[in-house]
């Protein structure tokens, strides 16, 4: 691999690139799904290719191909040079990269059990057992269980002398139970929604998920939701479970602290950000209870790695400290606009995509209260659990989220179950209304974060715990 990367870099330099980098990525993944007692899918994927990024006359060009050899290195680098020169025809200002010491090293995800060494029989056996437990509940119409494992091996080199190799291993699984009536559909998922919970780690992390012991409860709740009352339309105290807090952090803190968004790079597609650079260090984003870090070193995080795709070492940086907005996720190019060093957040989906500023692990730091005490200390409110729907505006201000299930809180106790719960708000007002974060902190994985054109899917992590918010509008219905 190193010879191909060096060849691409030499070709780019000889062709006039002031800077170039090259990545070779080999991705292997396995997807298994059991539905209604039958094996619905077993798929083994392999993807391999080379991507070269070249900076010529102050503009970027990127080219990629699934052929990886010294001949393709010349061709791909040549194409990147031509594209960079085309970019320079419409240049607002030349790209400047923040200084970076060239990294040389290797990173491998810590894990105990290589998920690719576990037999397909054993994986399907677990999913079939969990599926059977879901289907024992009479009201369940569709029972789905899925598992996905990944191994990403990549090498990165730059004309500045960086060369790093990484092996990232991820494991995830989950279940969904769907109950239907003539005019309603209700779903419960575990441990996370939209198919599965993903972390960096081995098969041991799937075994820790306790899928079997939770399946009867999940099935029962999905059926019970059909006869539950609609979430009332009111303004009240809301306690979100840790998974929904993770999604709230993702949408209303992770994305708006991406500096490329704040600088307009995504304005025509994903949008911009209400957090403009002039607000750094001064803007009250949330209450004093709100502390949020971007931490690419968090064990198990789906956004944990050794180096980003510009070769910048993984870092831990505050985004929000004691409620004040203090930092962005940055790249070398965008960091230079703020006279900073890169925060190491440039990540590409694979060899065929350019790196973009992506979330790493965006973690809301825990408080000291147990989630049980959080509920017990709430006289009146609604407890909501697990994301079902999400929408937020292009500045990341106005959001509306739905969860799978909710319960009324009365006198510190959970009482009536509600279906179709929703809540809506404006980001800083919402986080300023946060008066407590619980201590049930753990890493949650979001394996479906989309950004960029062509759209790149990314696995990002969120350390989160249950949290309480005051005066929240709930129960918006169409």
């Amino acid at each position: 691999m190193k010879a191909v990367i060096e060849r691409a870099l030499d070709t780019a330099s000889a062709g006039g690139a002031a800077y170039a980098d090259a990545r070779i990525v080999q991705k292997t993944s396995e997807f298994l799904m059991v539905k209604d007692g039958q094996v619905a899918a077993v798929n083994l994927s392999s993807d391999y290719g080379l991507g070269v990024r070249a900076l010529v006359n102050g503009s970027w060009g990127f080219a990629s191909a699934s052929r990886v050899n010294t001949e393709s290195a010349d061709e791909v680098a040549g194409r990147a040079l031509r594209i960079a020169r085309a970019s320079a025809r419409v240049q607002e200002k030349p790209v400047v990269l923040a200084a970076q010491d060239p990294s040389v090293g290797e990173y491998i995800t810590p894990y105990e059990s290589d998920p690719f060494d576990v037999s397909t029989e054993d994986k399907l056996g677990l999913l079939l057992r969990v599926n059977d437990l879901l289907r024992r509940e009479k009201g369940v119409k569709v029972a789905e269980c899925a598992m996905e494992i990944y191994k990403t091996e990549k090498a990165f080199g730059s004309t500045e002398g960086a060369y790093v190799t990484q092996t990232i291993v991820e494991s995830g699984a989950g279940m969904e139970s769907t109950a239907t009536s003539d005019d309603d559909i209700q779903k419960r998922s575990f441990p996370n929604s939209f198919g599965r919970q993903v972390v960096t780690g081995g098969y041991e992390e799937i075994e820790k998920l306790e899928l079997e012991s939770n399946a009867p409860r999940i099935a029962s709740e999905s059926a019970a939701l059909l006869s539950a009352a609609e979430c009332p339309a009111t303004t009240t105290t809301v306690i979100l479970d840790a998974t929904q807090v993770a999604l709230q952090v993702h949408e209303s803190c992770g994305h708006p602290t991406e500096l490329d968004r704040a600088l307009g790079y995504e304005a025509s597609f994903a949008g911009t950000s209400f957090l403009t650079p002039d607000m750094l260090g001064a803007f009250r984003y949330g209450s004093d209870a709100v502390n949020i870090v971007a931490d690419a070193t968090t064990p198990l995080g789906a956004g944990t790695f050794g180096y980003d795709d510009e070769g910048v070492p993984a870092q831990r940086n505050y985004l929000v400290k004691d409620g004040i907005f203090v930092g962005y996720l940055t790249s070398r190019e965008t960091a230079s606009e703020l006279d900073q060093r890169s925060s190491g957040a440039m990540r590409a989906e694979s060899w065929n995509h350019i790196p973009l500023i992506r979330m790493t692990n965006i973690n809301l730091m825990p408080g000291e209260t147990s989630p049980e005490d959080l509920i017990a200390s709430t006289d009146d409110g609604i407890y909501m659990e697990l994301n079902k729907s999400w929408s937020i505006d292009d500045l990341r201000l106005n959001f509306q989220f739905g969860t799978e299930i909710a319960w009324q809180i009365e006198g510190g106790r959970l009482t009536n179950m509600y279906k179709n719960p929703t809540y809506t708000g404006i980001t800083p007002q919402f986080w300023q209304s946060c008066d407590a974060v619980a201590n049930n902190w753990r890493m949650w994985g979001t394996p479906n974060c989309g950004k960029g054109e062509p759209v790149q899917g990314m696995h990002v992590g969120h350390g989160a715990a249950a949290a309480r918010f005051r005066d929240v509008r709930v129960g918006v219905r169409g």
């Binding site: 970019s87 029989e121 790079y265 065929n352 929408s391």
Partner: protein, 448 residues
């Protein structure tokens, strides 16, 4: 730009099928793409990418045990390993008694959609296109953002059940957003022929909306008449395709269609169908199993008539396969991807606006998502041009609004549609008119 020819693609497919020779049945999909995309922001090109790729997806069955493996290397060793992986996966799993086998060979289906002008379009041409939008912005004191992509894709499907298909088509897609401090406007175009994309017009359309949107005001959330432009309508149709017209969801009781077949579910002026070979869309003549896509009329004059099926779903539930499978493995059921909504009689969006007593004009939606699948309740934001209409005239620009609205209710209250349609689509391709809807629920506002 070049992709695998029919001869080369089928030669790879045959080798893969040969390596899978021990299987009772096998199927291979060989796809290739050569694409380029130029993005611009703040009046300059900031991202500019090119990708050449090949993908091979092999499904094989040992009795009723099915394995799927895919990869992107096409040398003989790689194809042999692909077949071995698929076979080992199949061997290690229990039989699926519901596996219906592979679809047998049927009609070879071809379609147009390969445009020489798009094939020959270069990175320099895309840069020049971006420059036209930037020039339009700078001439008016605005800032330009957007993307311009061109590409060619091929797909070949072959199977031991007699399937043999090949299609090669081009796509060109452009969008521009022009902004000032407090407003934005957009223009867009999508076609298989890049010659049909006029970047100057796109830039002018975006500039016009941005200039008209300066100094936006708030309105109270509530129920308003609404004029939705084509891209906003297309998003609503996309959700119907994903959540409602899927034959698997229909059969499992997970769609409003389960209890409504043959009934009026929308207004009489609404007809929606899927057609993979209509030249005014982006052609996709066969599905991920190589089965020819049939035209499927979902809604005819407001009445629900049909949903789409793939081979597995059709076999399990005794329905006719309409040719709408994804590539295997496909546990989520069939999806219509080439959608059309019938036009009306109104000459222009402006004429729709003239018919509004008190309402809101919406250019596009942003970050739309599903809240309730049975009523197809969506929530999202308006974007890139939202205006107040009073007594048939635009009276002021508005800040973006959040809507929370059932698509079924909205399409039951359409008062008028334009006679011209536009091809757009975030994930699927949708050709739709602009519409005037009698009642539409806005549930919140924003500062953007």
């Amino acid at each position: 730009m070049t992709v695998l020819s029919e001869t080369d693609a089928h030669q790879i497919a045959r080798r893969a099928l040969d390596f899978a020779g021990e299987a009772d049945e096998s199927e291979v999909v060989v796809s290739s793409a050569d694409t380029g995309l130029t993005r611009f922001a703040n009046n300059g090109i900031h991202q500019n990418v090119s990708e050449e790729s090949v993908h091979v997806n092999l499904r094989l069955a040992l009795g009723k045990r099915v394995g799927v493996a895919d990869g992107n290397q096409v040398d003989s060793d790689s194809l042999r390993r692909l077949a071995e992986r698929a076979a080992s996966i199949a061997r290690l799993q229990p039989e699926n008694p519901e596996f219906a086998g592979l679809p047998s060979g049927g009609e070879r289906r071809t379609a147009g959609g390969l445009c020489q002008s798009t094939l020959e379009f270069s990175p320099e041409d895309r840069a020049d296109g971006a420059a036209k939008v930037v020039n339009a912005a700078q001439a008016r004191g605005l800032t330009a953002f957007g993307a311009f992509s061109t590409g060619v894709r091929s797909v070949a499907v072959a199977s031991t059940a007699g399937i043999e298909q090949y299609h090669e088509g081009t796509t060109a897609n452009a969008n521009a957003v022009l902004m000032n401090d407090d407003a934005s406007g957009t223009g867009m175009a999508l076609s298989s022929d890049v010659a049909e994309i006029d970047m100057e017009s796109i830039g002018e359309a975006a500039a016009g909306k941005a200039e008209r949107g300066m100094s936006p005001e708030d309105i109270e959330p509530g129920t308003y008449q609404v004029v939705l432009e084509e891209a906003a309508v297309a998003q609503m149709v996309e959700f119907l395709a994903f959540e409602s017209f899927n034959g698997l969801f229909h059969e499992e009781g997970r769609s409003f269609t389960s209890a409504s077949m043959g009934k009026a579910v929308m207004g009489e002026n609404i007809s929606i169908w899927d057609d993979g070979v209509d030249p005014s869309g982006i052609a996709s003549p066969f599905d991920g199993e190589g089965v020819a896509r049939e035209r499927v009329d979902f809604i005819e004059n407001g009445v629900l008539k049909a949903v789409v099926y793939d081979h597995q779903t059709a076999s399990k539930y005794g329905a006719e396969n309409t040719g709408h499978a994804w590539t295997a493995p496909n546990p989520y059921g069939p999806v219509a991807a080439n959608l059309f909504m019938a036009p009306g009689e109104v000459a222009s969006v402006e004429e729709l606006v003239a018919g509004v007593e008190r309402g809101v004009w919406v250019t596009t939606f942003h970050y739309t998502n599903l809240l309730e699948p049975m009523r197809v309740v969506l929530t999202g934001m308006t974007r890139h041009g939202t205006f107040m209409i009073e007594n048939g005239k635009v009276t002021k620009p508005l800040r973006n609004l959040r809507f929370t609205q059932s698509v079924l209710d909205a399409f039951s209250a359409v008062e008028a549609l334009t006679r011209d349609t536009k091809l757009t689509g975030d994930y699927l391709r949708v050709r739709a008119p602009a519409v005037l809807i009698r009642e539409f629920q806005f549930t919140g506002g924003s500062q953007s």
